[in-house]
Symmetry: C2
Subunit: 209 residues, 2 copies
């Protein structure tokens, strides 16, 4: 099946959203935690967290148009330059999913969705206690993507919390052991199973194919 | 285990790269296909493809510093404003992985890594024939991320090719059925298994937690 530009433009709005949200492949399932200046907390599911670089340690994520609905997450990040990124695990997928409902300002998704705030040392924003792999983040910059009025929010990792066993492994961290979850589209959640490791690819070690 | 900013800065370079490349969670496994003005093709594995929006249908991906090594992918995209994004499947993970070796200019990773070029209609760039879910892309813009000299390359989807069975399903496209692959870190590949679907989250339908 091939959909060309005309066919894509002629899809009805919902089919289009469903399809286009799936084409990039599996997406990481994360919860972003924030707090406003008066201590009201907020947590929301995001599937657009992306690695930007290791030195400095930078992650990005995409924020929908700021004018569309109240965007507590972004206002809170601007208020204190702090947020957290927390992996979702199978045990609380449903809780995580419902953080996407458009609750009134002042309603904490932590409370409404049965997730637990956790404050750790110098990070102002709340972590998700139920998550085993999470990062404290310092806001650096938001790059406007003018084609659709979204933002690439760039932050630096200021702390990482993960299970001792994962860190002690001299090889790569195994996301299957940590039970990290993937998302496709807007509504589907996936577990992940490690099936292959390959070494750093040097030209003189490339096998014959 | 908690790593604060000082601990992160004190990690040795390789440990740091391994860890920071894993913290965002599972990443989509894609091959990006391009061609230069004289017809030399190029294909390279990317784990940073990210959904930017559905209308217009935009995807982004992150490109490493352009000065570091020859970046055929980017030069080719600029040459003809065209590229393809192709899902990786388990049957050709090894082939896909070795496209990351730094081959000399003029060497096609298609040939060297045992992948097959496929040219479809108006898209100048080559698709990967072995991939069942792939997009033709028109280059729109590259946003500089000045903190680490990377680029967010933004493109519009001009065609989508996917299995008939996936498209005919009125629900969301199932990435497990398509056998799409996830990546963590730089070297680990994961299969995915759908474990939950949840409806669009309306405030008045949020369950009690």
């Amino acid at each position: 099946m091939k959909l060309n530009k005309t066919a894509l433009e002629n899809l009805d709005r919902i089919d289009r959203i469903k399809i286009i949200n799936t084409v990039s492949g599996i997406k990481p399932g994360n919860l972003i935690g924030t707090v406003d200046e008066t201590g009201n907390t907020n947590v929301a599911v995001f599937s657009s967290v992306v690695h930007l670089g290791s030195d400095p340690a930078l992650l990005g994520f995409i924020l929908r148009p700021t004018g569309e609905v109240p965007r507590n997450t972004y206002a809170n990040i601007l208020a204190n330059n702090s947020y957290t990124i927390n992996h979702i695990h199978p045990a609380f997928i449903k809780n995580a999913h419902y953080t996407s409902a458009k609750f009134d300002l002042g309603v904490s998704e932590f409370e409404r969705c049965g997730l637990t705030e956790e404050f750790i040392e110098e990070c102002k924003a709340p972590f998700v206690k139920e998550s085993q792999f999470k990062m404290g983040m310092k806001f650096i910059e938001a790059l406007p993507i003018k084609q659709n009025n979204t933002l690439l929010v760039i932050g630096e990792i200021t702390s990482i919390i993960l299970p001792d066993a994962s860190f002690n492994n001299k090889e790569y961290i195994n996301l299957e052991e940590i039970n990290s979850v993937g998302i496709s589209g807007l509504n589907s959640y996936y577990s992940i199973t490690k099936i292959a490791d390959h070494p750093y690819a040097r030209v003189n070690e490339v096998p014959k194919f």
